[in-house]
Amino acid sequence: MENLIGLALNSVFVGNILLSYFLGMCSFLAVSRNLATAAGLGVAVVFVMALTTPVNWLIYHGLLAPGALAWAGLPGANLSFLKLIVFIAQIAAIVQAIEMVIDRYSPALYTALGVYLPLITVNCAILGASLFMVERNYSFAETLVYGTGSGVGWCLAIVAMAAIQKKLRYALVPRGLQGFGISMITTGLIAIGFMLFAGISL
């Protein structure tokens, strides 16, 4: 249990998937101009990541991992090289399915999240979380915690960025640094802030 709490804290702060692994930068920079849209996309990412990472765990350990096909009489089969293409297809499929379910049962949520869902398929943070899950040999419970934690970390980072961008409009930024340059440096400073949690251990 302590291990899981530690993993959750780590995936949200110190090992933040955006700020220390640079994943999901494209949508992070594109959507952080407005606080409300940033929060919308953030919530959508938490949702999708909490769902796709465990499903990818099941697929990987049920079908692709070395020896996973033993139940089908193929104990020597190793399909792990297929993980990239299977994961990306699975993410696209889940995003599509979520979109349809939300559209059917919660039109209000659909109008709020709808435009972001297709964007999420190409968000490298989602695929990244699934690949890290394989690389670090997480158990199923750890994967659940890690997927959700990474999503929450990404959401926190984009909301913080959007809030700072709002203040930044009134700041005097040197001309050459305006726009992309100052966004990168601000992200760097947020990353330093998140790194300070490194001292906490459970």
Partner: protein, 215 residues
């Protein structure tokens, strides 16, 4: 003598291929655009060696996918073109990943998941969607190659400063003389950590904008 040497060069300059390469490398290559494409690759810029291997993999995949998509361009139905392109790119990335595992195992361990993440790299798909789908294979290949070299230049630039200032080394060999350390020089530990990459890119963009404005 200079005119004789310049003449073949002038002929080269007029070719379509040359123009494409110049466009991809210089005129249409702001750092900000390239970095958006390769965001996730920033994680491998702590050392020049990993950055170089990553650059080669990225350039190979971009050039290869542009070539393959261009060869298939008349056979791909319009409606499902995105998924065909993703499949082509994913196949090439898997090939690159397996090749690295076979021949450069240590580096591939350090690159970990980031080679796989080339699939979600927006610019690889962007090039094949925007250029390769309606240009002949030769030109598409050059365009992919030149764009790959374009990102690689940014990636290697960041890696150069991070390794030099962060750990005093280049390609793993110490280059800052021992005397500097005795005189009180200290490696900047911040550059080895993730925030260093963000700040480095910010400074690069600042320099680029300032230089372009002066022109």
């Amino acid at each position: 003598m200079t005119t004789a040497a310049a003449r073949p060069w002038a002929a080269v300059r007029r070719t379509a291929a040359y123009k494409e390469i110049v466009k991809a490398l210089w005129r249409a290559n702001p750092i900000s655009k390239q970095i958006l494409g390769i965001c996730s690759s920033l994680a491998v810029t702590v050392q020049l060696e990993t950055a170089l291997v990553m650059s080669l993999a990225l350039t190979g995949v971009t050039a290869g996918s542009s070539l393959a998509v261009s060869l298939l361009r008349k056979a791909i139905p319009r409606n499902i073109r995105i998924i065909v392109q993703v499949a082509v790119i994913a196949t090439l990335v898997i090939l690159a990943d397996e090749l690295l595992k076979a021949f450069l195992f240590d580096v591939s361990k350090q690159l970990s998941v980031f080679v796989g993440l080339i699939i979600t790299n927006c610019i690889v798909l962007g090039r094949s969607e925007a250029y390769a789908l309606n240009h002949p294979p030769g030109q598409a290949f050059l365009d992919g190659l030149a764009n790959g070299v374009g990102y690689s230049s940014v990636l290697l630039g960041v890696a150069f400063f991070r390794e030099l200032l962060g750990s005093g080394k280049l390609f793993g060999a110490t280059v800052i003389p021992e005397a500097f350390y005795r005189a009180g020089y200290v490696n900047n530990g911040l550059l080895v950590l993730a925030p260093g990459a963000f700040i480095m890119i910010g400074l690069f963009v600042w320099l680029e904008h300032t230089l372009l404005e002066r022109k």
